[in-house]
Structures are given as structure tokens and as C-alpha cells.
């Protein structure tokens, strides 16, 4: 708990309190951010991290407390105000204009001007330069929406760095990035830190937190637990501080990868040569009953694209899909749902939550859609579903009548998971299901998936977190450059082997264990 005071804080937040109807999101929290440091804000889902950030940047007004920036008391009326004061923020949910180009998004509001107004060539040149600093080589004139959520995240980060900021706030910037990109981002963060920028970092990846931070502040239930230097806070102590009890993360899961799968019968899902021009080269994939199949690969390798074709979210133009041995046409999500397949998208905000509807309505949406509008779920049936999953997944706040949009990111994810589980599918496709989920809940979700699979549910599991993939899958399909390059048995590779395979195998190998 030693806090060196030799450096004067650039940002001092004292006694910050924010109450929402029914929730005390922050309760007298102190937080100090010093120049030239990377300071991680840690806490469970709903602990108040994003709220503290939004208090600093003027998105929410505070109910009590003071905020000082550069020794001056401030109360920013808007994010624009905060930006003008040198505070640049990347919010948790990517918040860009999807229909503008990448370049326009990066430079929005800071477009270089020539004689005749904005010089678009200069905009794109500048944007490309900023993107390059993150190791990104993108066509700056392509629409943002045409890129994956990870690329959008990186664009948001580049955008934050366009401003010559004294404070850079990154709320879960790495949740959709893979290792290479995280390294690139960290390199940029370090160089900014060395130039004296104060950096506030939020992530649920403990490795990353330990790799990049100098200092850690822990919140729990809206209250400050403490501020620590990173070397004074071992990992177990951090977790205990966050969740208020000790956590045995992995024990419950050990053995999931070794579980024997009977692959002699008819696969639950069988894809032969399924592909789509420019999206995915024709690929095969079988998923058997009770099996968890992981899909691994770098960003942009076609993981999400592949499962979207399987689900009918996008239409395949090659190959055929059978479900339970029967040829199935997958031209719309409904076709997949009717055959017992559910798909949780990686893009929570755009493709998951229905923000103004309540938590309960969001949970039952899938079941209700399947039954059709005429056969409304009775109040009792709704309550049963809602009560079961609120409890099983530990959604907080535990009030199912609030709009889902008011929940913290991680809790929204849990509600969406409940939506799919409530449909009782035979095959569940999970694209980054633990993104933005705190350590405790992550272990809960992994355990839940393993348990359901042991009971016979088939799962296709995508995660950028390779440890997680290795831990809970029984088979791994590896993609590279929008092509399936092979399959691996997770009991036969370790993390390094997998990383190596993902990075290099495509060049030399024909097909691995298949």
C-alpha cells in the first residue's frame, strides 16, 4: 500500500460519488493519475470502472467529490471539453461512425484544412500515418463498418492518439485484439508513457495488466479498495482484492480437454466445403455431440466469418451443411435456430443487446422469437427463465426490469449468454463469449460451458485467449488467411506450440492431425 508521492498527480479525483436509480455506482472513490505512469483500474464487472472514467471525461456528472486536472478544479461538461483539456479516451464500447471511412473516423474533428476547406488527401495521409504507428496498414478510404470489431477498436485507439493528449484513457482496449496487436499497442503505450503521458488502462486480462502497469487501483462494488504499486501486489492478492474472496480459477475445469468424445456417430453439425468468395475459402468442419470445438487463428483469419456462414448470418456460396445428418439450408439465422443452433456474436453492442429493452426481455428474446409472436411466453415461464439465468450467471444488478443498456459491459455479456442458453440449443456457437468478463465470471462461464458440453451440448468456441481455448476444447480448427489450415488435439499442444502453429503452419503444413 505504499504510494510514492514524489510525482505530483496530473489527475486527482477525490470522494467521487455517482448514483444511478437504484445503484450506487461509485461511493466516495479517490483516484490519482500521475504523468509518465500506466495506471490500471481493476475490478469485477459492474465495479464502477467505466463510470469513474466517464466521471472524469464529463459523460456523467458527479454527485459528490472533486476532480482536479493539472492542479485546477474541473467539471467537464462534455467529452469535447475533456478532450480540449488534453484527456483523450477510448471507451469500452467502440463508439465510432460506422458509415464513415476509416480515415474520416481517425481524423474526425481534426481534419487538416487547405484553401478550399478540408483537404481530404491530407486527411487520409495523416490517418494512414497514425494507423501505421499502431502497425496498421489499412485502406483509409474503406468504410469502417467493413472491418472487424478488432480493427475498429484499433481505429478508435488511433483516433485517441491523434490528439496531443496529456492523459490517455483506454477502457478495455485489448478485449478484441490478439497477441501481436496487443504487443504493438503496448509498444505505443510505453513510448507515450516515456514521453510523460499519464495512461489509465482497464483490462480483465491479468497478464496484460501485469505486463504494462506501474500502478493498480482496485474498485469493488463502487468502493475504493486500494491503490498499489504493481510490484507490491501479487496476482492472487489482486484477485482477492477484486472479488473479495479467494478464487480457484482452474481446478473445476481441469480435465475438460481430456474428456473423450465419441466421434463415430453422425456429427451434430457437418460442414463440407463451406465458403464464400472473398470471405472464407471452402472449409470442412464436423462437430460431434458433447464436443467443444475451438476455432483458433489470428485476427482476420476468418474465425468469425466461418461461424457466421455456419449460422446463416451470412450466406455461404459454396459447400453444404448438414445438421444431425440432414442437409440443411442456412440462409438466415432462423434456419439455424430451427435446427437447434444458437450463435452469440462477438459484437455485443451492434449485434447483441437490444439496449432499451429490459434485461428480462433481452434474455427471453431468442425463445420468444422461436415460438413466434402469437405464443407469448407466460409471465411464469418468463420469470422461470429469467430467475434461473440471473442466478446461474450472477448478473448484477440482480434486477431484471432495468434496461440492459444500463448494465456494465461484462454483465450485458452474461445476459446475452443467458439468451442463447435459454433456447436450449444442441449446438452453441460462442464468438468471444468471455470478452470483457471479469476473472471470476470468466471461470464461471468456462465452467458452465464445460458442464453443458459434458451433458451433451455441442459447442463451437472462438476466443482470442488461447489459454482458454486450450483449456476447454477437445479439438481445435486453426484458420489462417481465411483458410482452414488444419486441426489440432489440444492435449497434444501447449500454448507455445499453438501460437507457433497459428503463425507458421500454413506455409509448410498440408494438414495436421486430420
Amino acid at each position: 500500500m505504499t504510494v510514492d508521492t514524489d510525482v505530483r498527480p496530473l489527475v486527482s479525483m477525490r470522494g467521487i460519488t455517482i448514483a444511478f436509480p437504484g445503484v450506487l455506482a461509485l461511493d466516495g472513490v479517490d483516484f490519482f493519475l500521475r504523468p509518465g505512469e500506466v495506471h490500471s483500474l481493476m475490478g469485477e464487472n459492474g465495479a464502477g470502472k467505466s463510470t469513474l472514467i466517464k466521471a472524469l471525461t464529463g459523460v456523467y456528472a458527479i454527485d459528490a467529490g472533486t476532480i482536479e486536472v493539472a492542479d485546477e478544479e474541473r467539471d467537464f461538461a462534455s467529452t469535447a471539453d475533456a478532450q480540449a483539456a488534453g484527456i483523450s479516451t477510448v471507451y469500452q464500447e467502440v463508439n465510432l461512425c460506422a458509415n464513415l471511412s476509416v480515415g474520416e473516423n481517425v481524423m474526425l474533428g481534426h481534419e487538416p484544412r487547405g484553401f478550399a476547406g478540408i483537404s481530404w488527401n491530407a486527411v487520409h495521409r495523416e490517418a494512414a500515418r497514425h494507423l501505421a504507428s499502431l502497425g496498421l496498414d489499412l485502406d483509409t478510404r474503406s468504410p469502417l463498418a467493413s472491418h472487424s470489431i478488432a480493427i475498429q477498436q484499433l481505429v478508435a485507439i488511433s483516433r485517441a492518439m491523434v490528439l496531443d493528449a496529456k492523459v490517455l484513457i483506454l477502457d478495455e482496449p485489448t478485449s478484441s485484439l490478439d497477441r501481436g496487436e496487443v504487443e504493438q499497442l503496448f509498444a505505443v503505450i510505453r513510448s507515450l508513457r516515456d514521453r510523460g503521458v499519464a495512461i489509465l488502462f482497464v483490462s480483465h486480462f491479468l497478464e496484460q495488466v501485469y505486463e504494462i502497469s506501474d500502478r493498480i487501483t482496485v474498485l469493488r462494488n463502487g468502493a475504493l479498495i486500494g491503490e498499489y504499486l504493481v510490484e507490491d501486489l501479487p496476482r492472487e492478492a489482486l484477485v482477492t482484492a477484486m472479488i473479495g474472496r479467494e478464487l480457484d480459477e482452474l481446478s473445476a475445469l481441469s480435465g475438460a480437454a481430456e474428456r473423450a468424445i465419441d466421434r463415430t456417430g453422425t456429427p451434430v453439425l457437418s460442414a463440407e466445403g463451406v465458403g464464400r468468395k472473398g470471405v472464407l475459402e471452402p472449409a470442412d468442419l464436423d462437430v460431434f455431440e458433447g464436443e467443444v470445438v475451438g476455432i483458433a487463428g489470428l485476427l482476420g483469419s476468418g474465425r468469425t466469418e466461418m461461424v457466421r456462414l455456419l449460422y446463416g448470418a451470412d450466406k455461404a456460396d459454396a459447400g453444404q451443411i448438414s445438421v444431425g445428418g440432414e442437409r440443411a439450408k442456412m440462409h438466415a439465422p432462423r434456419h439455424a435456430i430451427d435446427r437447434g443452433i444458437a450463435f452469440s456474436s462477438e459484437n455485443r453492442r451492434a449485434e447483441g443487446v437490444v439496449a432499451e429493452l429490459s434485461v428480462a426481455e433481452n434474455m427471453i428474446l431468442g425463445v420468444q422469437a422461436q415460438r413466434g409472436w402469437m405464443r407469448r411466453l407466460s409471465k411464469a415461464e418468463q420469470d422461470a427463465i429469467v430467475a434461473e439465468y440471473m442466478e446461474a450467471l450472477g448478473v448484477r444488478p440482480a434486477d431484471p426490469t432495468v434496461p440492459i443498456g444500463t448494465l456494465s459491459g461484462g454483465n450485458q455479456q452474461k445476459v446475452l449468454l443467458a439468451r442463447w442458453l435459454a433456447m436450449q440449443p444442441r449446438l452453441l456457437i460462442l464468438d468471444e463469449p468471455t470478452r470483457g468478463i471479469d476473472v471470476g465470471a470468466k471461470a464461471d462461464i468456462q465452467r458452465k460451458v464445460a458442464q453443458l458440453a459434458a451433458e451433451g451440448l455441442s459447442v463451437v468456441f472462438i476466443s482470442s485467449e488461447l489459454e482458454e481455448v486450450l483449456r476447454i476444447t477437445q479439438r481445435l480448427a486453426v484458420l489462417r488467411d481465411r483458410r482452414k489450415i488444419g486441426e489440432l488435439d489440444p492435449t497434444e499442444v501447449d500454448l507455445d506450440g499453438l501460437v507457433d502453429y497459428i503463425a507458421n503452419a500454413g506455409h509448410t503444413e498440408r494438414s495436421a492431425t486430420r
Binding site: T17, I18, F20, P21, V59, Y60, A61, I62, D63, A64, G65, T66, E73, D75, Y311, A313, A332, P333, R334, I337, F343, S345, A350, E351, G352, V353, V354, A355, E356, L357, E361, L365, G366, Q368, A369, Q370, R371, G372, W373, M374, R375, R376, L377, T406, R419
Partner: protein, 359 residues
């Protein structure tokens, strides 16, 4: 406090204020008299004359909830009025109940087909709602003129006239018609899952699609209901004047309907809708119309008067204005002398959060 937060508080407050102002200015405004066992008077007239707008606004509410808009409702009213009156006029026995029934059924079916056409353009062909329904808005009145042969068809038919001018128990038939239709629509929307699925499609179409919601059918249905209700509105309207005036029937009603929906608290961005809110919105618009008559505003100035009141009502309902109001009053209380900016705790922050939630 919870009352203040209720989503219908401000719409109701606006309507009540409007009525109170009227009654203070002219006590006759609220006068109701009994004649031959029926009620008469300005409030009764408002309930009766609300009928066409009520039906149209109800359909509009559902369309708006899907992120759409239906500009063709006025034209559909004209077509429906033209169809029904032409059938009655061409019949050998315009006064018979059978003729009138046939006329009404055919007119409503035609309106339903027109609604289905709109829905087809929007949900199947993916045409922007404003453009898709503009087609019929422009073409519809031409069709109506074609049906009536370019003239204003007038008829004498007691059963048909009864729809708008008759009385049931104490109150006008037209009032009972709209109450019944509101009840049916509310029941269908909230007793089935249609309402929730409609809101879901309006709020996040892509998430809804991935969850397996049949958005196409839901959007299509909204336009069909809107067409159907506009058809009924057209019949009541024609029954009021007993004439099919293709140029003036339902003229600009689409805009008044949109206004009523918004006054009722349903956002033009789609999503959450409130049927009760729309009912209140319609009553507000109709009352305002009567206010203009009662105050004797000259016709030339009445649109301006109408607009001014609408602006006031909309401002009074705006969450942002509420926030400013609270911030200003808090500042007055806190700093009697200096004009210090509102920092720290207090109402300003509460206000900003309110806005956040409402947004």
C-alpha cells in the same frame, strides 16, 4: 417523484394544462349538456372528432416503432372513402344495411392491400420507408379521384351516416369505434409478443435478426395495420361529411398523426412505443384544434397559433429542458449572489444523468 418519472407524466400534464387554460379562458369549453338522452358539448365533440386521427396515429405508432414512417395514410383515407361511397352511390338501395356493410368491408380490404403494398416495399424490397410510402401518398389521391370519376361523390345513407354522427349509449358511435380499436390493438400488442418483438426490431434490427426474430413479417404487419386503420379512418371521415372529397379527405393527417405519436412520448428513432401515450397525444392535438376555434383565432393565423402551442408543448416535455430547469433552480437556491458556475454536487448533476438515461 415516481409519478414524475412515469413516461406518461408529461404527455398527460400537457393535455391537462391545455384543458385547464381553455376552461379558465372560457368556462363553456367544458360544458356538457344532455339532450334526448345523449350528451352534447365541446368535450363530447373532441371525443367524436378524434376518431380518424386516433386510428391513423395508432397505426403510425406501430410503424414508427419499427423505425419507419407512413406518409400515405391520408391518401389511403381518401381511397377508402371513395371506394365505400362509390359502392353506396352505385347501389340501387343506398340506405340498406347490406349495401353499407359491403361498402365498408370492401373499402377496408382495399386499404389493407395498400398497407400491404407499403409493407412490401419497405420490408421485402428494403426501400426507405419515407420514399416507399411517398409513392402512395402522391398516387393515392389520384386513384381516389379515378374511383369517384373526378367528382365529389355524395350520398344519402342513414346507416353509413350513423358511423360518425350517430349515438350509442350517451356518447357518439365514433368514440366507441376508436375506443374499441385502441383496446384491440393494445391487447394484440401486449397480450401477444408482437409489441416486444416490434420494439426489438425497431431498437436493434441486426441483433433481432440474429436472435431469430422474423423482422420482415413484423415490419410488414405494422404497415398493414397502418393501412387498415387508415381505411377505417377514411370511412368515418366520409361518414362525417357524407361526401368523398378525394383532394381533402385526410389532408395532412400524416403530419398530425406523427405529431400526436411524438407528443405521446414515442421516439421517432423507433423502438419503445406507448399506445396510451398516442391516445393522449391525439386528444391533445384535437383539443388544440378546438382551442383555436374557441379563442376565435382567425383562420389565417391559426396555423401559427397551432405551431406556437405545439412548440411549447414539445419543449415542456423535453428531458433536456427539464434538466436545464432543475439546474437553473438549483443554482438560484445555492448561489443567491454570485453567478458561480454549478460545480460539484446537486441538481445539475442529477439533471445531466437524467438526460443520459432518457437519451
Amino acid at each position: 417523484m415516481t409519478l414524475l418519472k412515469h413516461r406518461l407524466f408529461w404527455p398527460v400534464a400537457a393535455l391537462v394544462t391545455l384543458v385547464v387554460v381553455n376552461v379558465i379562458a372560457n368556462p363553456n369549453f367544458a360544458k356538457v349538456t344532455m339532450r334526448d338522452g345523449d350528451l352534447y358539448g365541446n368535450p363530447v365533440t373532441i371525443l367524436r372528432e378524434s376518431a380518424p386521427l386516433m386510428l391513423v396515429a395508432l397505426g403510425m405508432t406501430l410503424v414508427i416503432a419499427t423505425r419507419g414512417i407512413d406518409l400515405s395514410v391520408g391518401a389511403v383515407m381518401a381511397v377508402s372513402g371513395a371506394v365505400s361511397l362509390t359502392i353506396i352511390a352505385d347501389s340501387p338501395d343506398p340506405g340498406s344495411l347490406g349495401t353499407v356493410t359491403v361498402a365498408i368491408v370492401v373499402a377496408v380490404l382495399v386499404a389493407l392491400v395498400l398497407g400491404a403494398w407499403n409493407g412490401f416495399l419497405v420490408s421485402v424490397l428494403g426501400i426507405q420507408p419515407i420514399i416507399a410510402t411517398l409513392v402512395l401518398m402522391l398516387a393515392g389521391r389520384g386513384v381516389a379521384l379515378l374511383i369517384t370519376g373526378g367528382a365529389i361523390t355524395t350520398v344519402t345513407s342513414a346507416p353509413y351516416k350513423f358511423l360518425s354522427n350517430g349515438y350509442l349509449i350517451l356518447l357518439p358511435v365514433a368514440f366507441f369505434i376508436w375506443v374499441a380499436v385502441v383496446a384491440i390493438v393494445a391487447l394484440v400488442e401486449r397480450r401477444t409478443a408482437l409489441g416486444m418483438l416490434t420494439e426489438s426490431v425497431g431498437i436493434n434490427p441486426e441483433a433481432s435478426r440474429l436472435a431469430g426474430v422474423r423482422s420482415r413479417g413484423i415490419i410488414w404487419a405494422a404497415y398493414m395495420v397502418s393501412g387498415l386503420l387508415a381505411g377505417v379512418a377514411g370511412i368515418i371521415n366520409a361518414s362525417n361529411t357524407m361526401a368523398a372529397d378525394s383532394n381533402n379527405a385526410g389532408y395532412l393527417i400524416e403530419l398530425y398523426a406523427i405529431l400526436a405519436v411524438v407528443l405521446g412520448g414515442t421516439s421517432l428513432m423507433g423502438g419503445k412505443f406507448s399506445i396510451a401515450g398516442t391516445v393522449i397525444g391525439v386528444l391533445t392535438v384535437t383539443t388544440l384544434d378546438k382551442t383555436i376555434q374557441f379563442f376565435g383565432v382567425p383562420p389565417a393565423q391559426s396555423p401559427v397559433f397551432f405551431a406556437v402551442v405545439v412548440v411549447i408543448v414539445v419543449l415542456v416535455q423535453s428531458p433536456r429542458v427539464h434538466a436545464w430547469g432543475r439546474a437553473a433552480s438549483a443554482r438560484m437556491r445555492r448561489t443567491p449572489s454570485s453567478g458561480e458556475p454549478p460545480t460539484g454536487p446537486g441538481a445539475a448533476s442529477a439533471a445531466k444523468k437524467h438526460e443520459e438515461v432518457a437519451a
